[in-house]
């Protein structure tokens, strides 16, 4: 991989491709989660399918985990390289005059999302792995809804989720359309893409916030 990613452009393209893959996953994740506020049975059915389907579990899940790890490691590698490119900082640097806060602080929004993923894995992924592969408990297709909503009983957790989704929004606001630029896609449709980026980056995280708040207030 080191050879493939030797050039700065190759590293940026790899970053863009892994980011777009995660955006696709995010949309799929949101679509399934949103059914939890509409229909308990549909949510259970879809979750059961995702949790037991061989293609999803044996092929897509490892690819997803690789994509997540790759995106984060590459993000930190690029950050270190970029910091090394300016060994002496400016006394006065007016970044706000020529670029957005989101574009200048992707590493920080990304770090918050990474911290959130640790909590999210602790909440859902590790218990799921433990249920299926460590304790080898019998499969119950109706367990998913209850296991999900119970996590949103604690206010502190809901607050952490909401904060994380706000940082996800900031990350997506720059990252989505930026990934197309990295891959060489800048043309008459780019303005439309930036509009779609803003809509997607706001709607999806707000949707996740709505789901978390819905289940919290539903259990009061």
């Amino acid at each position: 991989m080191g050879g493939l990613l030797k050039s700065s452009i190759a590293r940026k393209v790899a970053m863009a491709l892994s980011g777009l893959f995660l955006v696709l996953f995010l949309f799929q994740h949101f679509s399934i989660n949103f059914t939890s506020v509409i229909c308990q049975d549909t949510f259970n059915e879809l979750s059961h399918f995702m949790g037991t389907n061989f293609f999803v579990q044996a092929i897509l899940q490892p690819i997803l985990i690789f994509g997540v790890i790759f995106h984060f490691i590459m993000g930190f590698v690029l950050e270190i390289k970029n910091r090394n490119a300016r060994t002496y900082s400016y006394v006065k640097y007016n970044g706000a005059a020529n670029s957005s806060w989101m574009s200048r602080n992707m590493i920080y929004s990304g770090a918050v999302i990474l911290a959130f993923l640790c909590l999210h894995f602790y909440d859902f992924w590790f218990p799921e792995i433990s249920h299926k592969y460590i304790h080898r408990l019998p499969e119950d297709p109706t367990r998913y809804y209850e296991e999900t909503v119970v996590k949103f009983k604690d206010l502190w957790r809901v607050i952490l989720y909401v904060i994380s989704f706000i940082f996800l929004m900031l990350h997506l606001l720059h990252g989505f359309s930026s990934s197309f630029q990295s891959m060489g896609w800048n043309n008459k449709y780019s303005k439309g893409l930036r509009g779609f980026t803003v809509a997607f980056a706001i709607i999806i995280p707000l949707g996740f916030i709505f789901i978390a708040l819905f289940h919290y207030f539903n259990q009061l």
Partner: protein, 248 residues
């Protein structure tokens, strides 16, 4: 106009520099920024002090020689101009102006506000040219038809004066806008297509070797560029590079 200047002073590339404060009076709004520095230097020389070294040449916004990070922005607060085109009417009486050299590992400070931008020359030398048979059989470039759109795009890319503001503005000190402008100006013309694959690979390799950072697509370079070089050039270079890598 009475101003306070905070200027980076550094004896040479091996010594540590520091910000030094200079009060200055009698500055007219019609003076250019460099003329204001000339006034300061005359005062310093009269006092027997070392004048502030800074790069300049044509003072018409053409040569790309002047630089300076002024109040945190390359070429100062105005858009699409170089430092020599910046006038003191852009500042107010009593202002404090922070003046620093362009900062990048690939632009080491030579003295005070002068940086060594020869890394740009080496990127250009790596592939920013077309090979032409000059043995007497040279074909007139105008004999090859070029569509207007490509000619205009190529010309726009070629207006890059290589001042380094893109690197100075970028939070990563990336030279992608400069390199992509040089790649684009040839890639868009039939004369440049012949060596396009080798050119983009060689120029990107040199850019990376010089120690410039990666592009984060913040767009700061495009905003601060005195010649309004577009980010489309970076996308074009990325496409050129990706296609070139598939060709071995």
């Amino acid at each position: 106009m009475k101003l306070t200047l905070k200027i980076w002073r550094q004896e040479n590339k091996d010594t540590k520099g520091k910000m030094v404060t200079y009060p200055i009076d009698g500055i007219e709004g019609d003076m250019s920024f460099l003329e204001m520095l000339d006034v300061l230097n005359e005062e310093l020389v009269e006092k027997g002090e070392e004048p502030v070294e800074f790069d300049h040449d044509c003072r018409e916004g053409i040569c790309g020689m002047c630089s300076l990070q002024i109040n945190g922005e390359p070429h100062g607060p105005n858009r699409h101009i170089t430092t020599c085109q910046l006038h003191m009417r852009s500042f107010k009486d009593g202002d404090t102006i922070v003046i620093e050299p362009f900062r990048a590992k690939a632009f080491p400070v030579v003295k005070d506000l002068i940086v060594d931008r020869s890394s740009f020359d080496r990127i250009q030398q790596a592939g920013g040219y077309v090979s032409v048979n000059t043995s007497g059989n040279t074909i007139d470039a105008n004999a090859i038809p070029v569509n207007k759109h490509d000619a205009d795009e190529s010309f726009n890319a070629a207006t890059c004066i290589g001042c380094g503001a893109c690197v100075a503005a970028c939070k990563n000190a990336s030279a992608m806008l400069f390199t992509s402008a040089k790649v684009s100006q040839y890639a868009l013309l039939p004369q440049g297509r012949i060596e396009a694959v080798d050119r983009v690979k060689a120029m990107v390799r040199q850019m990376d070797e010089e120690g410039f950072g990666n592009c984060s697509n913040t767009g700061a370079c495009e905003i601060e560029c005195p010649k309004d070089i577009s980010l489309e050039n970076i996308a074009r270079m990325n496409r050129e590079y990706l296609m070139a890598t598939t060709k071995g």
